[in-house]
Amino acid sequence: MITTIITAIITAGMIDLHCHILAAVDDGPAAMEQSIAMARIAAADGITRIAATPHIKNTLHSPDIIRKGVARLNSALAELRIPVEIVPGGEVYAVLDPLLLDGYRLNNSRYILIEFPHTHLPRTAVSLLFQLAVRGFKPIIGHPERNPSIIRNPDLLLKLLSSNVLAQITAGSLTGDFGPQVMECACGLLEQGAVSFIATDAHSVQHRPPILSRGVNVAAEIIGREKALALVASNPEAVLAGKPVSA
């Protein structure tokens, strides 16, 4: 209990870069109340800012809808005095034409959160990332530790990463929510310094709620508390500020 409180104090000011908190846009919460409940959980965990990242895959939600949703949620949270700020973003399907993606950048920075097919890592991944780079994007690869191709061969991810291409893992992957193989892959990527961010990829209150601290604790055991905290604080802070992510 005390550790939890201490952790909460230490980790206060965490930023969640990947969260399906907007209501009624994707497979996240269906209504505003659920979005607020998720925000309460996040606030209790020490999260102060959340990037709303709805799926941009089979439906290209207009950036306008996202901006409006974010504004509405922020005013509701302010009214309820929940100390969490929502910023716009999106979880973008990697094969989409970069020309379509301008409205889904994280907090209007150059960073964009992308997801590869769940089934495999396309052989065109390098080309897709290049296409994004030449359009001025800085792609962040979402939950690579859950991609079957990368689980089998983590080197595939390491070859994709550069100063312009970063990786974000899911907090639940570190605590074993996706099974031992995903956990092993996540920990391995952490050890190799391939991970720049830990995020919740939360979809609801019940399953995989927006809690970062548990994942951070696991990460702290692997790479040390300071570095683990950077993955949820200074690194995402730099993203939202549109600054380069240090190491």
């Binding site: 089979n58 094969v95 097919p117 089934t119 890592l121 396309p122 193989q181």
Partner: protein, 482 residues
């Protein structure tokens, strides 16, 4: 006692017959002697007179008698000589006659003595014979008894012989065993006392179980790898992309077609629907190239899911506010009309043959979806599909619709799909996961490449969700796709 008897018998057995012979010889000698003497005695008795007696050999041959007779003869002669000279009373005459008479008297006395001695001798011979007879009889009875005992003896002797034989055999065996024992004691040394085993020597259950376990485990793993090695079917999207050099547009998991193949109508949030939407995104919104307007859906082999893919893809594209025309270009075994439950008396074949007009196009289940069924089976499908009219149909459809999708026969059997691939913007190949081999796909891909047809990518169809991990890392926690 018995033993002593036997010893006696053994001794006597040689003596008795000898005795018997001896006695009988003596007896016959004695008998002959007695008879001889009896004859002599009889002659002597019967003779009576001295003259008769003198002729009897015993007396006649007697030397004393013969000497006396000679003296008598001499005495007689003297008497007769004197008688001539002297009268009977002359002294010389009397002396001579006295001498002669004395001699005759002597001779008579000698004869009586001889008779007496013959008589004695005869009696002696008789008693001697009797004695011998008694002895012989005794010997005979002895011999009889001996014979009886000899029979017994033989019986005992046979018994003894057989006993001796057995005894000797046993003795030999005993000695043989002694020798064997002696030999063994030389070669074998007791190093450790044998212990009574607590468990059976064979079968060694633990070892066998362990061996079976290890063999089963490694054999099973080996077999699994071997089968995997032999299995050359398209299964994983990574491998398919790498080996075929094509993008995987999407995976569609195997689903039960019993409730209908048009899943897009049944459940808008199912995994399969999401998969078709993903394929739609990959086809139409990807950066790779200019989005295709006319798309051919085909496969290498029959039954891989061309028609299902074409219909469901057309439906999800129509749902995204794009106008879609779905054409069943499989003029041989068209199936779209069955799936959508249309009349097939008019269709693409009758349109291309110039029989029917634009009325062959019918409305689909979605607002933006129009469908042209295959129509009656024509005699020349390839010719019709390659005709000028086909191109005209496509160009006019491209004006009215955003997307035109063609269903087609499989590549392997006929050239229809290859002909169509030349007039569309791109071809999508449906591969049934775990059934179609890389060889089959690669062979047909060559035909497309020779024609310089553009291939948009692969749809990996009928993926077995249970056997693949492609969904697991996403469905593990909350059972829905993110």
């Amino acid at each position: 006692m018995r033993r002593k008897d036997i010893v006696t018998v053994q001794d006597k057995i040689a003596v008795i017959p000898q005795k018997l012979t001896e006695f009988s010889i003596q007896l016959s000698k004695a008998e002959a002697r007695r008879k001889e003497l009896a004859t002599e005695y009889k002659q002597l008795r019967q003779a009576g007179s001295a003259a008769a007696m003198a002729s009897i050999p015993v007396i006649a041959q007697n030397r004393t008698i013969q000497a006396l007779q000679a003296q008598i003869v001499i005495a007689e002669q003297r008497v007769s000589e004197l008688s001539k000279k002297y009268g009977p009373k002359h002294p010389l005459m009397i002396k001579a006659v006295g001498e002669r008479d004395g001699l005759i008297e002597k001779k008579a006395q000698e004869c009586r003595r001889i008779v007496k001695s013959v008589e004695n001798e005869y009696e002696l011979a008789g008693s001697n014979e009797q004695n011998l007879k008694d002895l012989l009889n005794k010997a005979k009875s002895d011999a009889l008894r001996l014979n009886e005992k000899f029979i017994q003896y033989n019986v005992l002797k046979r018994e003894e012989e057989s006993n001796r034989y057995i005894y000797e055999a046993l003795l030999a065996k005993l000695k043989e065993q002694n020798i064997t024992e002696q030999n063994q004691s030389v070669n074998v040394w007791i190093i450790e006392q044998a212990k009574t085993p607590l468990s059976p020597a064979t079968p060694k259950k633990k070892r066998n179980i362990l061996l079976g376990l290890v063999l089963g485990l490694f054999g099973g793993i080996g077999l699994a790898f071997f089968i995997e090695y032999l299995d050359n079917t398209v299964k994983s999207p990574d491998e398919a992309e790498e080996r075929l050099g094509l993008s995987v547009l999407g995976l569609v998991e195997r689903f039960d077609t019993g409730a209908g193949e048009l899943l897009t109508e049944l459940d808008p949030h199912s995994n399969v629907t999401e998969s078709y939407k993903g394929i739609r995104t990959s086809l139409l919104l990807s950066s790779a190239d200019k989005p295709p307007k006319a798309i051919l859906i085909t496969s290498m082999l029959p039954g891989e899911g061309k028609t299902t893919t074409a219909a469901n893809l057309a439906a999800v594209i129509a749902q995204s506010e794009l106008k879609v025309l779905l054409i069943d270009a499989d003029l041989r075994k068209g199936r779209l009309h069955k799936m959508f439950d249309f009349d097939n008396s008019k269709g693409l074949s009758s349109y291309l043959a110039g029989i029917d007009g634009s009325e062959v196009m019918v409305a689909g289940p979605e607002k933006n979806l129009k469908i042209i069924p295959s129509g009656p089976v024509p005699p020349n499908p390839s010719e019709l599909l390659g005709s000028r009219k086909m191109k005209d149909l496509l160009s006019s459809a491209s004006d009215k619709f955003d997307i035109v999708i063609f269903d087609s026969p499989p590549v392997m059997s006929v050239t229809d799909a290859l002909i169509l691939s030349k007039i569309v913007d791109g071809t999508t190949i449906v591969i049934k996961a775990g059934e179609t081999t890389y060889e089959a796909v690669e062979r047909e891909l060559k035909s497309f490449r020779e024609l310089d047809s553009r291939i948009l990518g692969i749809v990996l169809n009928a993926v077995n969700r249970k056997n693949s991990d492609y969904y697991n890392y996403y469905g593990y926690y909350y059972g829905r796709n993110d």
